[in-house]
Amino acid sequence: MNDLELLDTYGPDAPPPSDAALDAARARLLGAMDPATARPRPSLTRGWGIAVAGLGLAAAVAVAGVTLPRIADRPAPGVTATTGSGPIRLVAAAKPEFPWTLPGLGKASFTANPGDPVIAVYLAEDHSDVYLTSTDAPSKGEPADVGGRPGRIIEFNGTTDNGRPPLDLVWEHRPDLWLRLTGQGRYATPEALIELAGRVQDKPQRLRFEVTVGLIPDGWELAAFKDESILTYRDPADPGTDFSVQWTPKGEPLFRAREIEGMENASKVTVQGRPADLFRAGEFWMVQARLADGSIFRLMTPRSFTEEQALELAGSIRRST
C-alpha cells in the first residue's frame, strides 16, 4: 500500500450522510430551483430570512439574479432608517434593461443567477436555442474573427438529446466588453454563431415583470428575479440585506396573521387607496395589498426599514403596462 492508498484507507473518515441530511440538502436545492415549492429556510438568506409559512419569497433570491447598473436618482421623502451600509433613502427606480438585442430570433426571455449577468434566452421550435450574455475574456478555444474583432469558439464536450452538442462563441463586442453566444441545433456551428454575433445590436431590451417597483433605497440594485413575478433588490454593499416583491394573480388567498412566523403585530392600512395588511414580524415587515386589477402583491422588507418606508415602497408598486 502506498501513502495515497493508506490515506484513503486509514485517513480520517466519517459516516455516510443520513437520509435526513440528504433530504435537507436536496430540499434546499429544489427550493432554489422553484421557490413556489420551497419550504422556508432561513439559511438561504442572511439577515432577515424567510419566515412566512409557504411563501418562499426569500428562497427566490437564490433562483435568478442579475447584475445591472445602479438605477436611482430622485430622492423621496422618508429618510430615517439604516442598514448595515448606512441610512436608507428611497429614490426613484429606473426600469431594468438588458443592454443588447439580437434581431431575427423572436422575443427573448431572461434568466440569471444571483449576482451574475442576465442571460437572454431565444427559444426555437426545433430546439435550436440561442443564449446571449456578457462574460469574461476567454482563455481557451479556437480563435475566431467576428467582423474584425477577436473571438473564440469553445466546444462543448458532450451531446444533447438530439445528438448534437451546443457551441459557444465568446467575442469582444466592444473594447473590454466580451459577450457569449451559445448556439444549439442549427446554430451550433462556428459560421452560424459568427453570423449571429454580427447581428447583435447595442439596443437595450426592457426586462418585463408583472409589476414594477417605483422606489428603492438609494444605491440598491435589482439582484434577482423569478418567473417575472418575484423581484428582489439588494444593497450591493451588504448583499445579505434585501427586499422582495412577490406578485400573484387575483383569486390567490391572502395571507392571514397566524400564518406569519415570528408575528408581532398585524394592522390594517391603506395602500394606493385600497385596504391592505401590514404585518410586523421579528425580522421583517410584510405588506400585502391588492392592485387596481385585483391581483395581489406582497412586499417583504427588513425591519431596518421604518414602517413608513415599507408602506411608501408598497405604494410605489404598480402592475406593468
Partner: protein
C-alpha cells in the same frame, strides 16, 4: 435514457429542474469528501456546494473537466472558509487516537498493523499541511481526480498541482515512515 452530466447542466440553464439528477448522482460522494475533511458540518456544506453549482451552472465550461470534478472543486472552495475548523478536527483526531493503546506499534510502517496508529499519524500529518497542498492531495487521494482534473478544478497550473502534491506526499510519507522517494508511476497517479 441516462443523460450525461454536462448535458443536464446545459439543459438546466433553461430548465432548472434538469439540475436535480446531478444531486442524486453525486451528493453521497461529495458529502463523503466533505465529511472526511470537516466532519459534521458537511451536512450544511453539501447543500452549499450544490447551491453554488446550481447558481453557476450557466458558466460551467466542460473543457477538460467532468461535472463530478467540477463539483469537487466547488466543495473544496467551500471548505476554504473552514480551514481552521478542518485543522482542529485533524489535531483532535490525532490526539484522540494517539491516547489509545498501540498494542502493535512498531517503528517500521510496513509492519505497523495498528490502524489506529496510522489514523493518528495521518491526521497529524494532514493538520500540518498547507491548505493548498492539502486540497490537491485529498482531491487525489479521496476523490481520485487526475492531476489535470485537479488543476482545472482548483484553477491552478498542473505544474503547481504536481509540486503541491509532491510536497504534501513528502510530509505524509515522513509521518508514516515510508521511503521519501516516489516512483514516476506513483508521482503521476
Amino acid at each position: 435514457m441516462h443523460t450525461a452530466d454536462d448535458v443536464l447542466i446545459r439543459e438546466s440553464v433553461r430548465e432548472p429542474d434538469r439540475f436535480a439528477p446531478l444531486f442524486d448522482r453525486h451528493a453521497v460522494a461529495i458529502h463523503r469528501y466533505l465529511a472526511r475533511r470537516i466532519g459534521a458540518p458537511a451536512d450544511d456544506l453539501l447543500a452549499e456546494t450544490f447551491l453554488i453549482a446550481f447558481r453557476r451552472r450557466a458558466a460551467y465550461q466542460p473543457l477538460g473537466l467532468e461535472v463530478r470534478s467540477w463539483l469537487f472543486g466547488i466543495a473544496t472552495n467551500v471548505l476554504h472558509r473552514h480551514v481552521r475548523q478542518e485543522e482542529r478536527r485533524y489535531r483532535a483526531l490525532a490526539r484522540a487516537v494517539a491516547e489509545q493503546p498501540r498494542p502493535h506499534a512498531d517503528d517500521s510502517a510496513e509492519d505497523r498493523v495498528d490502524a489506529a496508529a496510522l489514523r493518528s499519524d495521518l491526521a497529524a500529518a494532514l493538520a500540518r499541511l498547507k491548505p493548498g497542498d492539502r486540497d490537491a492531495l485529498l482531491l487525489l487521494a479521496y476523490a481520485q481526480l487526475s492531476y489535470a482534473e485537479i488543476a482545472v478544478a482548483l484553477e491552478i497550473p498542473v505544474g503547481t498541482v504536481r509540486s503541491r502534491i509532491s510536497r504534501a506526499r513528502k510530509i505524509t510519507r515522513a509521518a508514516l515512515s515510508l521511503p521519501a522517494e516516489l516512483s514516476p508511476l506513483e508521482e503521476e497517479k
